[in-house]
Symmetry: C2
Subunit: 437 residues, 2 copies
């Protein structure tokens, strides 16, 4: 193909100069020659917008137009592509996207919350625009998971997506596993190290992972991302005991986002799961992210890397800018906006799989018999039983793992077992994901 590096520069307007924005700016300067060769033309930041003009960011903004109003970037005649790194689902971020698309300017964004919440509002704008939206940075930071799924696996009917989609949770669970400490202590450590926010709810309650899963589902299944239909449970309930017992049984605990196509519709969940220790997923520690896609021809494909951080996220932002420069931006969810359908969510209670149950019971004759009778009545068969801490009359931990069963049956069993007089607290239930071929 012809060399086109003498083409005019692609002129970039960046809204938001926080951690990611400043890193993207530095990357565009630092790797400029390499980027021009790969983009087929120079990439030049011509305009920016951020809240505080005077803040020190370690970047040289001389020669770059400053806009106090980010939405003005869309109208700037010297801006060909708008990069939205402000965040937020309402107000300026969405207004900027709308203005850019209306002006026929492609948009690059890292704003997963916006995509998770407002894709239904974006689709008509995309339908009416000559430009597209690129959002590699919105899911799994530096991992090219969007491109890998939407383009790399474009030939496949995707059966399922699995992901370790939140680095904070993966860091906490990995630390708990490595040290045997309990959740609260490790959360504090994560906060002091900057891996968790002062208010950690968004991460540890699974909300951030649910946003990313909804976006991945949208691409995999050609439907509008719908966070509300993701059954979401965080990691606050995972105890050091669970991690120790899972370890004895040969498992790690990971917070997994899972979206699966079934006859009844798409089942989407974010929840702590037991994963066999000898799988690649179990070995993904620290704050790393991972995305598994299971296609009818490719089989299971795994992408792993840094899921957050300014530099890794900037890598994804600039990859999208190169796609813009190459005229290679794909339709938002891989297919034409008018072909995107609402999701048909299926109820997680219809899920068939195996489960881990931890019971805290008084060690009295008949307890196990009562529990076994409940499981038998619900046609749940056991894979293994583990009991620890035998002191007659004292509480003991009883760990059960089941063969394949319907989640509704497990939920019913948990309710009935909790009502037994010798059972001291509601049973702890976790899903087992075997990752078999």
């Amino acid at each position: 193909m012809k060399n086109d590096k003498d083409k005019a520069p692609l002129r970039i307007g960046i809204a938001g100069l926080g951690n990611v924005g400043a890193a993207a700016f530095s990357l565009l300067k630092g790797n400029a020659a390499l980027l021009a060769a790969r983009a087929g033309r120079p990439l030049a930041v011509t305009a920016v917008s951020a809240r505080d003009r005077k803040r020190a960011r370690g970047i040289d903004l001389s020669g770059v137009t400053w806009h106090d109003d980010p939405v003005a970037l869309a109208a700037d005649k010297n801006v060909d592509v708008v990069v939205e790194l402000m965040g937020g689902t309402q107000g300026a971020a969405f207004d900027l996207l709308r203005a850019a698309l209306a002006a026929g300017k492609p948009v690059v964004t890292a704003n997963k919350a916006l995509l998770a919440a407002r894709s239904a509002d974006l689709l008509p704008l995309l339908k009416a625009s000559s430009a597209g939206i690129a959002f590699e940075a919105a899911v799994a930071g530096g991992i090219p998971a969007i491109k890998g799924l939407r383009e790399g696996l474009a030939a496949n009917d995707i059966h399922a997506i699995y992901g370790i989609l939140n680095g904070t949770c993966n860091f906490i669970l990995s630390e708990m596993t490595a040290t045997g400490r309990d959740f609260d202590a490790v959360l504090k450590e994560a906060q002091s190290l900057g891996y968790a926010e002062a208010d950690p709810a968004f991460d540890i309650d699974g909300i951030d992972a649910a946003h990313k899963l909804a976006i991945l589902s949208g691409i995999a299944f050609g439907c509008v991302p719908d966070t509300a239909s993701v059954s979401t449970q965080g990691i606050r309930g995972v105890s050091a005991l669970d991690i120790a017992f899972a370890g004895e049984l040969g498992f790690c605990i990971k917070l997994l986002g899972i979206a699966r196509k079934t006859a009844a519709g798409i089942v989407q969940s974010v929840e702590p799961c037991l994963v066999p220790k000898n799988t690649p997923v179990a070995a993904i520690g620290g704050a790393l992210n991972a995305v598994y896609a299971d296609g009818d021809y490719a089989g299971k494909i795994l992408f792993v890397g840094a899921g957050a951080g300014g530099r890794a996220t900037a890598s994804a932002v600039v990859a999208d800018i190169i796609d813009v420069a190459r005229g290679a931006v794909r339709p938002f969810l891989g297919i034409a906006a008018e072909d995107v359908r609402k999701i048909t969510p299926a109820d997680i209670r219809q899920r068939v799989g195996s489960y881990y149950l931890r019971l805290n019971v008084l060690d009295k004759p008949g307890v196990i018999a009562d529990v076994s009778a409940i499981l038998r009545d619900l046609q749940i068969s056991l894979e293994s039983v583990l009991q620890r801490g035998r002191d007659p009359g004292q509480p003991v931990q009883v760990i059960l793992t089941t063969h394949d069963t319907r989640e509704q049956a497990i939920r019913d069993a948990v309710g009935r077992i909790a009502a037994l007089p010798a059972v001291l607290e509601p049973p702890h239930r976790m899903r087992i994901e075997a990752f078999e071929a």
Copy 2:
């Protein structure tokens, strides 16, 4: 963006209807509606070429033009894109690529041997053509590693590439690790299961992996793939003893392709390496492939999946066809053909890292002292020493691991140690790759 599914079909000519060709044909039919939505237009196979017209392939060729001469596909007026799945570096495959590019028709190929051997001949053809070449299927089968590296990580200065690039070798090493059996027995099993060819040299001597590494290097560093500069060693020399001792030390053995940018140039190697057991790479078993890319912004990104097989490879072929349909084929090695440089190879002996040495020695006083003196003289410091099988006067295995040292020093040490009278065979040397952040 506008819906363009009412566009005319993209007309595909497939040369080669073996395992991959037949699977690609089936995929294009089976997932036709999905593919049309993702490609923005229907994908239609209009012509094929293969050696034997009568062979049963389980595919329906009615309505498809048959060409006895594959090169005729390039001239067929009803063919927009030429898919080359014949293999071979000389003759028809190359002639077909040349004819298609000369006719301005994009080429999709899975032919890694051709790309590894003849990229220097391809570049002038690409320079002169309005069309490009896509080759996702040439490296790591169903894993979108080419796209992930060339487009997903396009913003990065790539420091290094690591890969488990040959499924046959990974299967053999994984089986040896799981069963404790020796190489020859497991090779026979792999042959009977179809994981290894009757003549296994191409796989087990590392040649196939070297081809793939050379292609990945070409993309990562913008240079002409040069298999001749890959220091290549296969897995015939890996014994059950090595696997057992590596295991005791906390390592797995993997055949790794490694390309790394150094001040002296690009160092490329394919060789068995010790990898820590608790890393994701160690957990990649069976016939799976993996590609790691280390970028200055993204950090280490890992891609894992099926590296071979008709269906997985067809997934990659059809992803490339969708790129053609979308007009999104990138320059061959990510940059304009005229910017691609010859590689500056650096000598593997300048590599700095740590090593595993296994010595088979007579258990006599003074042997370890002699070995230690050699290492001291070469300024090699030891990380660990392990000795097994102590029967005075009998052979014993002594396992040494070193701290960082230059490979030249280790090679010198191996030569001097081999010359000691009490040393019964040349020491076995393997590189240790820590995969640290």
